[in-house]
Symmetry: C2
C-alpha cells in the first residue's frame, strides 16, 4: 500500500488519494476554466512553489485527469488541459466551492480574487439559479483585477473568463457582492449604497442574482 492509499474500497478514499495533496484542487479549478500554460498557472496561483506545481501537474497527468498538449491555432504553446475524467470533477468541485463559500463573508487581510476563482464562484451558483424567459442578458463582472463574463437567459446560464465587449451590464464587485450572491442583500439597495457599481440598467442586476445563487450556511451557530 503506497503512502497515499487508504486501504479502503471506497470512492471517497480514492478521490482523496488523487485530490488530497496541497494545491491540487486549485490547479484543477484553474484548468476547469480552460487550458493553461505553466506560466499562466503560476500567475493564477500566487504563492505556489514552482517545483510543487511541477510535481502536482505530473501527478495529475499520471492519474489521467490532465494532459499536456500544444495549444491549437497559431500559438503552439504547451498547455495543460483537463481530460474527460478531469472534467467530470466539475459537479464535485462546484459542491465543495458552495460549501466553502457558505461561511465566507469578507476577504481576509491580503486575500485576492483571481480570474479562475471568480469564474468558479459564479459557476458554482448556477445549480441553484433560475433564468428569465424570452431574453438573454450579457454581463461583464469585475472583482479586483479579475474579470469574467456571463450570459443568462431562456434556461441557459454560462460563465467564461474575460470581458464581454457587448455586455448589457458591467458589474464591478464591491463589499456587497458576496451578500448579493447569497441573496442577503437587495440588488437595488446594493447599488444605492455603492456596495456594487454598475454600468447599464441597474434593473439587470435582478436576473443576475437570480442566476447565480451561492447561499450562506443555514447553521446560524457558525455565522
Amino acid at each position: 500500500m503506497s503512502k497515499r492509499e487508504y486501504g479502503q474500497f471506497c470512492g471517497l478514499a480514492r478521490a482523496s488519494e488523487m485530490l488530497g495533496q496541497r494545491w491540487t484542487l486549485l490547479i484543477l479549478r484553474d484548468l476547469l476554466v480552460g487550458p493553461r500554460t505553466y506560466s499562466e498557472l503560476v500567475a493564477g496561483l500566487p504563492g505556489i512553489p514552482s517545483n510543487l506545481l511541477a510535481t502536482r501537474l505530473k501527478e495529475l497527468e499520471e492519474s489521467g485527469l490532465i494532459v499536456r498538449e500544444a495549444r491549437s491555432g497559431m500559438d503552439r504553446s504547451i498547455v495543460y488541459a483537463v481530460t474527460g475524467r478531469g472534467s467530470e470533477l466539475q459537479p464535485a468541485l462546484d459542491a465543495l466551492s458552495r460549501w466553502g463559500a457558505a461561511d465566507m463573508h469578507e476577504p481576509r487581510e491580503g486575500e485576492i480574487v483571481t480570474e479562475a476563482s471568480l469564474v468558479s464562484a459564479l459557476r458554482s451558483g448556477i445549480e441553484n439559479g433560475t433564468t428569465p424567459e424570452g431574453t438573454t442578458i450579457r454581463y461583464t463582472i469585475r472583482a479586483g483585477a479579475a474579470v469574467a463574463q456571463a450570459s443568462v437567459g431562456d434556461g441557459s446560464i454560462a460563465v467564461a473568463p474575460g470581458e464581454n465587449p457587448d455586455a448589457d451590464l458591467v458589474i464591478t464587485a464591491g463589499p456587497g457582492f458576496r451578500d448579493l450572491l447569497a441573496g442577503a442583500l437587495d440588488p437595488q439597495a446594493a447599488v444605492d449604497q455603492g456596495l456594487v457599481t454598475v454600468e447599464g440598467d441597474p434593473g439587470l442586476l435582478v436576473p443576475f442574482v437570480n442566476a447565480f445563487v451561492v447561499p450562506y450556511t443555514a447553521d446560524t451557530a457558525s455565522r
Copy 2:
C-alpha cells in the same frame, strides 16, 4: 497567512484549507453516518495513526464542523458528532464519492469495505436513483464484514448502518456488486452467475439497483 491558507477569497480554497489534510474526509464520512466514539473511529479507519486522529478531530472541532458530546441515553460515552455546518458537507462528499467510484472497479489487494464506506457508497447513489410507487422495500446489504440497511419506496430512499431484521431481501455483495450499482450488470444475471447472493425474492434486486446508481466514468480512455 498561515501555512494552510491559500490567500484567495474563494470557496474552494476555504474548503481545501479545512478539509485538505490527510484522513480528514474519511473521518467526516464516518461521522456523517452517525456519532462515533474515539475507539469506534479508530476501528473504522484501519491504519490511521492514533495521534493523527486526535489532531484531526481537534482541527475539525476548531473549524466548527464537529463537536464532542455525551451520547444520549444510558450510555454516556463521549462521542464526536457533526454540527449543522458539518452535515452541510453531505452533498459535496457524495459528489466526490461518486467521482472517485466512477473508475473504481475492483478492490486493490488488501482493500476492505467498512460500515461507513458501505453506507456512504449507497448514499452517494441516491441522487441518481428512482423509487417504485405504492410500496416500500427493506434491504440488508452485506459486503465483507460491513453491514448496512436500506429502505426504498414512494419517492424516499434511506440508508443506515447495521442489519434490518425485517429485510425483504438480504444482499451479500460479491464481485458483481460494483457493476450492479453502475448499471453495468443485469440483476438477474448477477444472481444466476453467483456474482451477488440474495436471500428473498431475487426480483427485489431490480428496485434496489434503480434506487442506488453509481455510474462508471463516461471517459472511455480512463476505463
